[in-house]
Symmetry: C2
Subunit: 418 residues, 2 copies
């Protein structure tokens, strides 16, 4: 089967001066992928007539589905709608159901008088299919030309998502024959990208041509993603599952999850499965481990709390790090994190605890303990394990790496205990 390609065009000067991060395209790509549409390009252009016109021209040569977001708001700098009208040779006319919808929003929800600018939002080219925007005033529009479809959506994320889910995504399989796409992702830890490649070389070479492997390294983790496409869903799933099992075997002890989830969720899942609780005693990460763990909904089921002991006196008073340890070995030492982890476990009455202390930079390093020196301890009721790290990056990355490694170190303790 021929592949069905889509291209995403995002419109807005704010994307070109780096004022906003484009999360719309990411979401749209995910959704399209799930229904077997392959996004072949993403293009961002400014609020300029010629640029938008050219982009639509060019992308329509490459894809059958062209999704356009942005440039539909009520302010004067929006030119997308008149441009689309001209591009597809239509004339603007008032769309009564949209006008009723906009009027209703102003009368009953915003409780503000409508101005001309708002009324104009209900005007659409007469040659488009209007896509109802339940969450806002600017309607979506769908144009057909030469067997391709062109969909224009507002740039406000929740409005765009609403129209995509209700209107666009259900429509595509009725207009095009789509193939199935399946992904499987696993997470590895503790092995570099190139060594991992050596290790799984045979498995990679044995992959059939319609199953691709990608390496996605990030902060010491390497994700491996298999992507398969084909016409028979059942066969495809069987094939990719088979290859995925082979890949997991090849990865061996470096495998930490067979789903694409962050480390804090790997740890969170392990804790949930065991009905176990955790607390943290953080110095150099300054609350970042706590933040990661609590960023996940439902984390109160296992996360109890943290003592962020940035100052030494807090380590001494609240976490019972002894004066001798501070004096003789310093706050960044094996003894300090052992005492922190033990006291944290007791004080918070949890099954596991993590303690970290280190020098994140740019200042504060010494010859004996340069910037990037980190001690990590993880504890349960029976044991305390420690590990020293030397990171050599900037402050932000040192903090992230310390947190990720601390979580991974706890993961190892949990799994060994199992």
């Amino acid at each position: 089967m021929e592949k069905l390609f889509a291209s995403i065009i995002t419109i807005g000067d704010e994307l070109l001066i780096g004022q906003v991060i484009d999360t719309n395209s990411t979401w749209m790509a995910q959704q399209l992928n799930l229904i077997g549409v392959q996004v072949i390009r993403r293009v961002a252009v400014g609020d300029q007539w010629d640029e938008i016109w050219q982009a639509i021209d060019e992308e329509s040569k490459k894809a059958s589905i062209i999704l356009i977001t942005g440039g539909l708001g009520p302010t004067a700098d929006d030119i997308t709608k008149p441009l689309l009208c001209e591009y597809f040779g239509g004339t603007m006319q008032m769309h009564q159901p949209t006008l009723d919808h906009v009027t209703n929003i102003f009368e009953n929800i915003l409780k503000r008088p409508m101005i001309d600018r708002n009324r104009k939002q209900a005007e659409v080219p007469d040659n488009c299919i209007v896509l109802r925007n339940e969450k806002g005033t600017a309607p979506g529009m769908l144009f057909k030309k030469d067997g391709k479809i062109f969909v224009s959506l507002p740039g406000v994320p929740h409005e765009m998502k609403g129209i995509m889910k209700k209107e666009v995504l259900p429509l595509i399989p009725t207009l095009f024959k789509t193939s199935f796409i399946e992904h499987r992702t696993l997470l590895t830890y503790g092995i570099g990208e190139s060594f991992l490649a050596e290790r799984i070389a045979e498995t990679e070479q044995a992959l059939p041509p319609h199953i691709k492997l990608a390496y996605l390294p990030n902060y010491g983790l390497v994700r491996l993603r298999l992507t398969a496409s084909g016409i028979d869903k059942e066969t495809l799933q069987k094939e990719i599952d088979h290859q995925f099992e082979a890949l997991k075997l090849a990865v061996g002890e470096y495998l930490i999850a067979d789903k694409d989830i962050p480390m804090e969720q790997v740890v969170g899942n392990l804790l949930m499965e065991r009905n176990a609780s955790i607390s943290t005693a953080e110095s150099c990460t300054g609350g970042y481990i706590a933040h990661l763990l609590t960023s996940r909904p439902g984390s109160s089921a296992y996360y109890k709390g943290s003592i962020v002991s940035y100052a030494n006196e807090i380590k001494q008073q609240l976490l019972k790090v002894s004066d001798e340890t501070i004096l003789n070995e310093g706050a960044v030492s094996e003894q300090a994190v052992i005492q922190m982890a033990k006291e944290c476990l007791q004080l918070m009455n949890t099954d596991y605890s993590i303690a970290v202390s280190g020098i994140m930079g740019p200042d504060g390093g010494t010859e004996a303990k340069p910037v990037g020196t980190v001690w990590i301890a993880v504890a349960d009721k029976n044991e305390v394990a420690t590990k020293q790290f030397h990171f050599r990056y900037d402050r932000e990355r040192n903090i992230t790496l310390t947190a990720t490694n601390a979580l991974n170190f706890l993961r190892m303790l949990i799994v060994d205990n199992h």
Copy 2:
């Protein structure tokens, strides 16, 4: 002076299936903007020879600077380097300084043996200028053709940023005539974008045509940025400084900083000036306020620590929230945050404290306390001030808004005390 245009090409299937959010382009666009280069397009393509080739072809018709990120890792799915070699008609050869650098990383930092794949990273086309990658093994490459430059950078954000800062951004003004661009940014808080626009309307209208004003709203803050461009640096700076003073006057009491710094730095600066210390007692933000405050180098001068009291028992035991409060008013209540802030101030022996408790969602809301309900208290030795908020976003954004508002609320307490 003619405008200098750049186009950014990002390579990687992960961008087209929505597996990662493209933050590289955003950062690059910001940086280019600061040196007077206008990004005209951003394009994302997959790891496909033809797609990459075509994208380079097309973008070079539209811009003088073509920045390419991604596709340079050591694994097999990377095709960018051989493609660039062929595109610009070179041959691959070993680059000794890069080989020395890669060898050094393996021998002294990673302490792992190098394999062929790693050595290959030091091979580059013989017709490019090699850009040293201090933070990784894949070098950047710069090609020149028809008066345009083509820069290929690794996709790992900190490696890309390192090469951009050290090599690419300083080089551009030496290769092209760029006009001087000066920016001045101020931060406002507590006034909406449209009201702010009314307030500063006269100042805005009085701006000369070569000085532009932009509104950058984010999480309750509105940044105002003046951008001036011209050929005489000294005149330009005088003019923009003059307009910036007028703008500050017009903004009046809503001004919180005359630099583009985050709220945690505004607060950090105020504390440093006063030689004052702070501690935090966090429930719903789960350590995020501590993380923000400690993300800044030198924060140990004012930040002492935090009790992250996610579980109620931690609030009761460590922060002395009374059983009556928990029973009668709940953990998300004015009384709870008052007790948390007071005990935190005492326990950590700081000049100021912040306490927050709320429901971040998606679950845990009730009719009386829906998701987004937050109580914030800030304290010094004389008083405790409280404030209730109702946010209506997703968990991530609710956490960010709670943290930013808590920091701003403390800022108000500090400034009034002064």
